[in-house]
Each structure stands twice: as structure tokens, then as C-alpha cells.
């Protein structure tokens, strides 16, 4: 941690350059994977598969948006998948209790926001480390989901809603849910990159103390980010339930790691202060399309984990190595120059 901050203060420009490079690189890599997969994997380019791809990346994409902001402020939220699961379980519970779906959905969103607020309270009011807090609520929320719904499943949600989630816009192959993803991505992108809130997010991530001196209230900002993170996870829980028409307590288990992997793959620094939403979107699409393409090529789902893991480590390692090489080269150039200078000075004397 210290090494990173030290090098940031010493040499800001190469790091800024490297970040921009990575963003471009990840988007290029994503496009490349999409092209290669369409050309070489049977059925990858079909409109039906496109629909599946979008539905597969839907929960990760949604949750990754607020996660990006949370990680840019230097915190983390590992409880999102459990929030998704609890939202889904409560949805099933209320549906079993014969509540109308029109009340259930807002309640689940509210629940998500409240769960996020609990995280925010522990992190910002009590000042506890977010990693430990959200590992705690990861277990707590998932446990509560099982308490609410047990290990059964609730199905038979109204077809009107489930059909909308799995359906497409008019006669086009564009899935309905893509509207939600795109709309939220635009909102989060604009907020992060074009508003004072976004600048505050980056400022807090770069240096909380400096941000406070500049008039930002880091605690309040982080609290609301956790609320939004919970809200979006609650929404993801509702959509997940409707997509599979099945409310289960273990819905989305383990998703938090995939989300964090996608965000970091998208070039967001785990130390905060750096990152951009287009890169994150590319990271999500890259992971989802790789998984989709490999699955179509009959590679087992679990072996895909190797690809995810390697990409995750490489996303941070590659720029570091490039930087180290660049630094070594410039050091050598520096040394040879100074040697030249001293030898020429000798010539003069």
C-alpha cells in the first residue's frame, strides 16, 4: 500500500498515462474477444446467444456500477451478493404471503438500501474497516436469507414480469433488461466523471484528508455510496428472481468475487482514487463473453475460473511490470548520460 502511494506522489504522470493505457487496452481486448469469438465459436454471434449473454452479465454489470464508486473511494463492499440473495429470499417470502408484486418490488429495493445503510453505518459512523465489516455482513445477510426462506424455492411469479425480464424489445434482438443496464451505466458514468460528486469520489480515494480540507465530507459520501450499492444489489436480486422465476436464498452466492474481479479488471485501483467506468463496463463484458464463448466451446465452467483469475492478476501485474521496465530503461539511460558527461568533462580538463 505504502509503495503505491509513494510512487504516486513521486511520479504522477506515468501512472496517469498507464491508467489511460489500461482503459484503452481492456476495451480493445474486449472488442478483440468479441470478434474472435463471433468468428470462431459456433452460435456465439447469434441473436439468441446475444440475449443470453446480456442476461448473464446483467447482475454483475448492475452491481459493478456502484462497486466501482465504492472502490474508487478506497473502500470495498463484499456483501453485495448476499444483499442480492436476501432481496430474492424476501421477494419469495412476500410472494408466498400473497402480497401483490407491485408492493414487493419496491420493498425489496428499500430492503437493499437499508442493508447498504447498515454497512455504511459500520464503516463511516463507527469507522470500522470496510473489508471486515462487509465480510461480516456477507455472512449475516446470506444467513438471514436462509432464515427467511430456508433451502426451498418460490416460483410462479407473474408471467407479465418474468416475460418482460427475459423478453426483447419489440421485434429486435435487444433484451429489455439491457435498457436498465444502459440507463444505469449512463447515470453512474455521468455522476462519476462529470459531476462534483464524482470528483469528490476521486478526491476521497486519492487522499481522504486532503478531500476533507477541500470541503468534501468523506463519511457522508461513503455512507450514501453504500446505500446506493445496497439498493442496486436489491434491484439485481429482484431481476435475478424474475429471470429464473425462482426465489432462492442462495441466489447469487459468490457473485461478489466476480464483481470485484470485473471492476479491478476494468482498471480500477484497489487502493482507490483511480478508475473509469468505461473500463469497468469493458471488464464486465470481457468476463461474460469469455465465459459464454468458452461454455459454447464445451469448456467446463470451473476451468473458466482459471481464465478469470489469471486475467484479474494480470490486470494489475501487467501495468506494474511495464512501469518497472520503463523505470529500469530510463535509469540506465540516465546513467549512460551521466557517464558521457563525466568522461567529456575529463576530456576538457
Amino acid at each position: 500500500m505504502s509503495a503505491e502511494t509513494a510512487s504516486v506522489t513521486e511520479r504522477p504522470s506515468p501512472l496517469a498515462g498507464r491508467f489511460a493505457n489500461w482503459n484503452v487496452a481492456i476495451i480493445a481486448l474486449t472488442v478483440l474477444v468479441l470478434i474472435v469469438a463471433s468468428a470462431s465459436v459456433a452460435n456465439f454471434g447469434t441473436s439468441q446467444n446475444f440475449g443470453f449473454l446480456v442476461l448473464d452479465l446483467l447482475p454483475i454489470a448492475l452491481v459493478a456500477l456502484p462497486m466501482t464508486l465504492v472502490i474508487v473511494t478506497g473502500e470495498i463492499d463484499l456483501s453485495v451478493a448476499s444483499t442480492l440473495g436476501l432481496s430474492s429470499a424476501v421477494m419469495g417470502y412476500l410472494w408466498n404471503a400473497n402480497q401483490p408484486i407491485e408492493t414487493i418490488i419496491p420493498l425489496c429495493l428499500l430492503l437493499g438500501a437499508v442493508l447498504g445503510a447498515v454497512n455504511g453505518f459500520f464503516v463511516t459512523v463507527l469507522g470500522l474497516p470496510s473489508l471486515a465489516v462487509t465480510i461480516g455482513t456477507l455472512a449475516l445477510y446470506r444467513g438471514l436469507a436462509f432464515v427467511v426462506l430456508g433451502d426451498g424455492a418460490v416460483a410462479d411469479f407473474p408471467a407479465l414480469y418474468t416475460d418482460w425480464v427475459t423478453g426483447t424489445i419489440g421485434g429486435t434482438p435487444i433484451p429489455n433488461v439491457l435498457i436498465i443496464v444502459v440507463a444505469l451505466a449512463v447515470v453512474f458514468g455521468v455522476v462519476l466523471h462529470a459531476t462534483p460528486i464524482g470528483r469528490a469520489v476521486f478526491a476521497v480515494g486519492a487522499s481522504e484528508q486532503a478531500a476533507r480540507f477541500a470541503g468534501v465530507r468523506p463519511g457522508r459520501l461513503k455512507f450514501w455510496l453504500y446505500v446506493v450499492s445496497g439498493l442496486v444489489a436489491g434491484l439485481a436480486g429482484v431481476l435475478w428472481t424474475l429471470r429464473y422465476s425462482s426465489a432462492r436464498a442462495d441466489n447469487g452466492a459468490g457473485l461478489e468475487l466476480a464483481v470485484v474481479a470485473a471492476v479491478l479488471l476494468g482498471g480500477v485501483s484497489i487502493f482507490g482514487g483511480k478508475g473509469a467506468l468505461p473500463g469497468v463496463i469493458a471488464g464486465v463484458v470481457l468476463l461474460a463473453s469469455l465465459q459464454n464463448a468458452l461454455r459454447l466451446s464445451d469448456v467446463s465452467n470451473e476451468a473458466l475460473n482459471v481464465v478469470t483469475g489469471v486475467l484479474l492478476i494480470a490486470s494489475v501485474l501487467a501495468p506494474n511490470l511495464a512501469n518497472a521496465v520503463r523505470a529500469a530503461v530510463s535509469r540506465r539511460r540516465h546513467r549512460t548520460e551521466s557517464l558521457h558527461r563525466s568522461s567529456s568533462r575529463k576530456d576538457l580538463s
Partner: protein, 341 residues
């Protein structure tokens, strides 16, 4: 680390020691309360079989927790332990299935070796790749698990394929203490002593308290980081062998999700997530408490589904309590400092 010759240092150290001991005392009290309540409502809880089950479960979790504590004390984290346990268990299972004559010691060494290689890889990536531990070990969590699935390809190793000697090792006892528990105790005592009394151990605390200061003090931070991850990996590998011996049935999913239990045990045991404080004793006590809660719920006929929620609540409680204690200690140190000057 010990500022010799300064007045008041010994008093300060003993008061700090007391606080830390109080932290572990808290877990012991919670544990005693839990056992008492459960035993009163159902005496079966204290039967030899029930205690044995709890201790066997604790042995595996405690070995993992000790390794995790070593890493967390240096202000890092190792999320790959569950996957490493799985790879080690499957490696040892395959090895024993194909060579039934192999002695148990070889199995233990192979398991620890496999884990050690994974741990060293983590350490090298953290140290020389300059990649944060959370990212590296999240990555190797996926990679190692994926490799195990790739290798296993859906096959499962059953108890009847394993040599009887190995399964006996999982059940046998010495003076009515199971071998697995003895191994866990050995790991705990050795690691605990090294961390408490030896330079190598104290330097890990120094690194966790302040990486910069540790570097300035001449501590080989890089090498120590790699060694900490190596220890965590090797212990996860060892835990994999214990897992194989205890359950006998091994597939590629062995140990999935263990990392959260392990981190929970360590945090509940009073090891601060930002390094520099806590002990492996606390981590092992945390493992014991979590395992006991699981058994107690079953005995009390409380819905098993509550277990995870309780673990989550305990983590929040533990870090909250630690925060409170830290604030108290800081305040009292400040007060004492002002008296001296």
C-alpha cells in the same frame, strides 16, 4: 521492538498484554457460556463423541486460521486458502489411491508442499509483482480451484479407494486425543512461540504496524512477506491432508468457501484486519468458537440456517469490540504520557 530503558515501558507493555489477554478471555468466556447453556439444555452435547466431532472440525479450521493469522498480522490477506486446501486434498487423495503403501508422513509433506508452492506464488506476486494481496489471492482462489476442477474432471475419490492406514490416521487417537487435533496443536504452539519470542515473528508484527517503519528499521520486508504467504499456503495444504483423512471423500469442490470461515475465525479471534496485532492463539480460539456454535445449534435444535447469520453478527461484534478496546488503550496511553511529561 522493545524500547529498552525507557521509563514506564514495562508498565505499558503489561497493560497492553492485559488488554490482549482480556480479548482472548472474552472468547473463552463466550465459549464457556455457550457450552454451559447448551449442555444444560441437552447433556448429550458433552458426550465424548460430540466433543470429538467439535475438536476434529476445529483442527482443520484452526490450522487454516493459524496460517491466515500470520498473513493478516503482516497487513495482508490470503483468500486462496480454501482453493489450496481443495488442490492439496485432491493431490494427496490421488497419490494415495495410486500408491496405497505410502506412509502418512509422506502424505502430510506432499500436502504441505503443494500448499507451500501456491503460497510462495502468492507471496512472490504480492512482493515482486507489487500487486495487492487481496487481488492476488482472489485471483489464485479462482486459478487454483479451476486447476483442481480441470484435473479432477468430475471424478471423485471415495473412502474405499483410500488406503486403510490413512483413514485410520483420520480416526485414531493418542491418549484419546485424535491425531488431527494433535497436529493442529503442534502447528499452533510452534507458530505461536515463533511469533511471540523470535525475531522472525516479531518482525511480522512490525511490518503490520507500519510497513514503512519496518523497512526503515532494516527488516527484510519482502522476504518476510513471501515467507508469511508460504506459511499460510503450506498450512492450507496441510489442512487439505487433514480434510482428506477426516472425510475420506474428496472431489474438486473440497473446501469451497472456506476462506470466509477462516477470515471470520481470525477476525473473531482478535487479529486486526489492518495488521500488527492479535495472536494465533486468538485465531485458534475463534476457530473453536465458530465450530462449537455450529454443533450447539444442532444440539439445541435451532434452525441450522441461523449459523451463518450468527457468524456474521459475531464478526461485526468482534471488530466493534476491538475498535472500542483500541480507543480505550489509546486514550489511557495518552493520559499516562501527559502525566510523565
Amino acid at each position: 521492538m522493545t524500547a529498552v530503558g525507557l521509563p514506564g515501558v514495562t508498565a505499558r507493555r503489561s497493560s497492553l498484554d492485559l488488554v490482549l489477554r482480556a480479548r482472548e478471555l472474552g472468547i473463552v468466556l463466550a465459549l464457556a457460556l455457550l457450552v454451559a447453556v447448551t449442555a444444560i439444555s441437552n447433556p448429550r452435547f458433552l458426550s465424548a463423541q460430540s466433543i470429538r466431532d467439535i475438536l476434529l472440525g476445529t483442527a482443520i479450521l484452526a490450522v487454516l486460521a493459524v496460517g491466515q493469522a500470520v498473513v493478516v498480522i503482516t497487513r495482508n490477506i490470503d483468500l486462496s486458502v480454501g482453493s489450496v486446501l481443495g488442490l492439496s486434498a485432491f493431490t494427496v487423495g490421488t497419490l494415495l489411491r495410486d500408491n496405497p503403501g505410502l506412509p502418512v508422513v509422506v502424505a502430510l509433506l506432499v500436502g504441505a508442499g503443494v500448499g507451500g508452492v501456491c503460497g510462495a506464488l502468492n507471496g512472490v506476486l504480492v512482493r515482486y509483482g507489487n500487486v495487492p494481496a487481496l487481488v492476488v489471492t482472489l485471483g489464485t482462489l479462482y486459478v487454483v480451484r479451476g486447476i483442481t476442477y480441470f484435473w479432477a474432471g468430475g471424478q471423485q475419490i471415495n473412502a474405499d479407494e483410500l488406503p486403510a492406514g490413512f483413514l485410520d490416521f483420520g480416526n485414531a487417537t493418542l491418549l484419546s486425543v485424535p491425531y488431527l487435533v494433535l497436529i493442529a496443536l503442534l502447528v499452533l504452539v510452534v507458530t505461536g512461540l515463533v511469533l511471540r519470542n523470535y525475531r522472525a515473528g516479531r518482525e511480522l508484527y512490525a511490518m503490520g504496524s507500519s510497513p514503512q517503519a519496518a523497512k526503515l528499521a532494516g527488516i527484510a520486508v519482502g522476504r518476510r512477506t513471501v515467507v508469511a504467504f508460504l506459511v499460510s499456503g503450506a498450512l492450507a495444504g496441510l489442512a487439505g491432508v487433514l480434510f482428506a483423512a477426516r472425510f475420506g471423500t474428496i472431489d474438486a469442490a473440497a473446501g469451497t468457501g472456506y476462506e470466509l470461515n477462516v477470515v471470520a475465525a481470525v477476525v473473531v479471534g482478535g487479529v486486526a484486519v489492518f495488521g500488527g496485532s492479535g495472536s494465533v492463539w486468538g485465531a485458534a480460539l475463534g476457530a473453536l468458537l465458530l465450530t462449537t456454535i455450529g454443533s450447539a445449534l444442532a444440539v439445541l435444535e435451532i434452525n441450522q440456517f441461523w449459523q451463518q447469520a450468527i457468524v456474521g453478527g459475531l464478526i461485526l461484534l468482534a471488530i466493534g469490540a476491538d475498535r472500542l478496546v483500541a480507543a480505550r488503550v489509546a486514550a489511557s496511553l495518552k493520559k499516562r504520557g501527559s502525566h510523565v511529561s
